[in-house]
């Protein structure tokens, strides 16, 4: 005999509860809730064929007034009459009951917003002041011609090009040194790791002080009094090549000095994380490989080029992906070091531009368009990366 699908009712109840809330907030037409309630009632009617006590489930129909009831009623039913359930039914019921709280939150705060962001981006200047007009892909058209967007994208590009290789190289070096059974490992690891657990806000405040044009430590160290690191919009390539008589303009002038200062701070901040991850990767490489290589007379460089590098590549790949995605989310450092986005918006990043558009200019639709383009770019880059690199980084240990 078939049994009553209690877990289906439970799931329907969870969705129904979310639906009632959504319709209360005006995200969902009331008709949907009506249909949901109808389906719920039909299921309960079917349940009555399996026994009178299924009428208890009718409590869930009060979800219209108190939404969680739709989910709680089947749970209550299971608590009271669950002893009689068979193994398989129990698994189905408990599985869904345990998954739903987290799943519902994910649906509300992660899945739905992703679609809602796209929906918002199709309107003309959504804010709370007036009803918005539908404008199709107009926002995206404007975005593609927006010089500030390209500026932000260019900065993101430089951020990846500068911080990822530099950070990985430094971190690999430190990790290899730490992996030589060096004494005071914990001490050194702490030194390198502390910046990572330090709040970016506080760290950026300290670096702002170090970069201070008059009294900053860096200017004293480099003997460059008065150099205003964070307010110099000129590109570093242009600055470096100027004495040679080469003039560079636009993108080729490179990231501004202010943005380089931000990148240096970022490398400092994230290095500890990379070191810890790489060290864990290094410790997973069997010692025998190195011993065998030593017997064959391999040099330090040979050992690391031919054993460490290939066997560490999955870890490096992971960190590379993380750095790539992280570049699109750089915000705090920029906000604290250059609160206005720098002179001529030269330290603009995608996240910062999104924040400016959405919460300073209250243009939610345009900001959503920026978010969607960022999303697509990250997706595309990750896919390309997987295609191109993943085949080369998987080695069996």
């Amino acid at each position: 005999m078939r049994t009553f699908p209690l877990h289906a009712l439970l799931s329907l109840g969870a969705l129904l509860a979310l639906g009632v809330y959504a319709s209360r907030l005006g995200f969902l037409p009331g008709a949907w809730v009506g249909a949901g309630l109808g389906l719920y009632a039909l299921l309960i009617l079917w349940g009555l064929r399996f026994g009178r006590h299924h009428a208890l489930l009718g409590l869930g129909l009060f979800a219209y007034w108190f939404p969680p009831l739709a989910f709680l009623a089947p749970l209550l039913f299971a608590l009271l009459f669950g002893r009689g359930l068979r193994e398989k039914e129990q698994a189905a019921l408990y599985g869904w009951a345990l998954v739903w709280p987290a799943l519902a939150l994910l649906l509300v705060w992660h899945v739905f917003p992703t679609f809602y962001a796209f929906y918002l981006s199709l309107f003309e200047r959504v804010n709370f002041l007036r009803p918005a007009a539908f404008s199709g892909l107009e926002n995206y058209r404007i975005l593609l011609q927006d010089p500030l967007f390209w500026k932000a994208l260019g900065n993101t590009f430089w951020y990846v090009v500068f911080t990822v290789p530099v950070g990985l190289l430094l971190a690999t070096g430190v990790a290899i040194l730490l992996n030589t059974q060096v004494a005071f490992l914990g001490f050194y690891r702490t030194l390198y790791f502390l910046p990572y657990i330090t709040a970016l806000t506080a760290a950026a405040a300290v670096w702002r002080w170090i970069y201070h044009p008059e009294f900053g430590f860096l200017n004293w160290l480099l003997r460059t009094p008065g150099l205003d690191w964070l307010n110099t919009p000129k590109g570093v390539f242009a600055l470096l090549l100027e004495p040679l008589g080469v003039q560079l303009q636009g993108f080729w002038a490179g990231p501004s000095l202010a943005f380089v200062a931000i990148m240096v701070m970022s490398v400092w901040h994230f290095l500890g994380y990379q070191v810890v991850i790489l060290l864990a990767g290094l410790q997973a490489i069997p010692k025998e490989y190195y011993e065998a290589a030593e017997l064959d007379g391999a040099s330090f460089w040979q050992k690391h080029r031919l054993i460490t590098w290939p066997l560490l590549s999955p870890t490096t790949f992971f960190l590379f992906t993380l750095g790539l995605i992280g570049a699109f989310q750089v915000f705090t450092q920029v906000y604290v070091l250059t609160p206005t986005g720098g002179v001529l918006q030269d330290t603009l990043t995608l996240a910062f531009y999104l924040y400016n558009k959405g919460f300073r200019d209250s243009d939610f639709s345009y900001a959503s368009a920026i978010a969607m383009v960022t999303f697509l770019l990250i997706l595309l880059l990750t896919l390309i990366q997987r295609r191109v690199l993943e085949r080369r980084v998987n080695y069996e240990i």
């Binding site: 408990y94 992703t114 050194y188 900001a367």
Partner: protein, 397 residues
């Protein structure tokens, strides 16, 4: 074991790098103990006066309590300046700029007498209230060598005199050393900020852990229909970068009327995909026999979860807890967006506001940065192993 010169080289390299990594921390700490004049020097002051133990002893003698100083009504304090008779110094309690009535400037009796080879500046509190801070200015003739009872916070030239300024003539040892900390602490409602941050972060950890544990257990150990679909959905949410969610979640919170409340800070981040994955990994690594045995003894799924899986996955829970706490405590962007009133500010937001308000008072700014990062740093030193493993685990897929 024979001595290898390579080891020395490794230590040298690590130490060099470590110095660079640790320098901003030292600079933060040193600046937080500097007087404004010391901080604003073109040539950096490596060890500020307030860091020198000899000065602590001097400061302990000034004020009612050796630790926190202060001057109760009717009490007096004597500052001794060894010098020659005939060149009398002048002393005054400066008025706070812009103050119409200043109880400290008007209610303090200042006497300057010469006795036993030294000028004595005697300050008496003639008011009804106790002073915690009592600023003092002494004009000292330039031709007499100066030997101050406590290094002045600022020395300026004023005609024939040196103008010696103290921010607090009755500091006590701790009040002297931590003057900037007290100043920063009293400049903003930091207690409230800390409460907000801790409350937000700890709630996120506790509820997030619970929800993630439930979902992860279901995904790892309960065979229920639709499990693969749920898993794929959760995987897919991982692809969405955080900034896509900013705008739609803000709109959602606005519709719920939750802006500027604790809900806004906590609820959207309760369900964590990372946590679910991490714990699922842990549960999968536990031997199936354990669960079978429990099953035979009549344990239901909930008993299996709370009596077997949860206790055995403690390391995973700790990892996830640390990770979530760090993320919540150090976050700036989200609190910046969803809160407006000063009462709802988290410490990072408070610090950010302080950065833009403090102006050139870098001592107080660095003091604020120090106490903002202090809880995490202390936590790290207490639970170093868990921190490192927690972070390293985030790298394992």
């Amino acid at each position: 074991m024979r001595f290898r010169p390579g080891v020395l080289f490794v230590h040298l390299l690590l130490l060099l790098g470590g110095l660079v990594m640790a320098f901003p921390f030292y600079w933060m700490l040193a600046t937080s103990l500097k007087s404004p004049q010391e901080a604003l020097q073109a040539k950096p002051v490596w060890v500020p006066e307030r860091m020198k133990p000899a000065n602590w002893l001097k400061a302990a003698r000034l004020g009612d309590s050796p630790l926190w100083g202060g001057l109760a009504p009717g009490r007096s304090v004597e500052l001794v300046f060894p010098g020659r008779e005939g060149h009398p110094p002048r002393a005054l309690v400066p008025r706070t700029p812009g103050a119409f009535f200043d109880p400290r400037a008007e209610g303090t009796r200042v006497e300057v007498v010469y006795r036993k080879g030294a000028w004595r500046v005697r300050l008496t509190n003639t008011t009804e209230e106790a002073f915690r801070f009592l600023p003092l200015v002494v004009l000292w003739p330039k031709e007499v060598p100066l030997e101050a009872p406590l290094p002045p916070d600022a020395i300026r030239s004023q005609g024939e005199y040196w103008r010696l300024e103290w921010v607090n003539a009755v500091p006590g040892a701790l009040g002297y050393v931590f003057h900037n900390y007290l100043e920063a602490w009293h400049a903003a409602p930091w207690g409230r900020y800390f409460f907000n941050s801790f409350f937000t972060a700890l709630t996120q950890v506790a509820v997030g852990l619970f929800l993630a544990a439930l979902a992860a257990f279901a995904l790892a150990r309960i065979p229920f229909p639709g499990k693969e679909a749920v898993f794929v959905l959760i995987l897919a949410t991982m692809m969405v970068p955080g900034e896509v969610l900013l705008i739609p979640n803000y709109v959602l919170l606005a519709r719920l009327g939750w802006l500027d409340t604790y809900y806004a800070l906590i609820v959207p981040w309760l369900a964590s995909v990372f946590g679910i994955f991490l714990l699922r990994q842990f549960y999968l690594s536990l031997p199936q026999d354990l669960f079978d045995a429990a099953r035979i003894d009549g344990a239901g799924y909930l008993t299996q979860l709370f009596r077997i899986a949860l206790p055995l996955s403690l390391p995973g829970l700790v990892s996830y807890g640390i990770f979530t706490f760090l993320g919540a405590y150090n976050a700036l962007l989200w609190p910046l967006i969803v809160t407006q009133s000063p009462e709802m500010r988290t410490v990072q937001l408070g610090l950010q506001a302080f950065v833009s308000e403090a102006g050139s008072d870098y001592g107080a700014l660095m003091a604020a940065s120090t106490f903002v990062i202090l809880p995490v740093i202390l936590g790290y030193f207490f639970a170093q192993r868990q921190f490192i493993q927690g972070i390293a685990r985030s790298g394992l897929k």
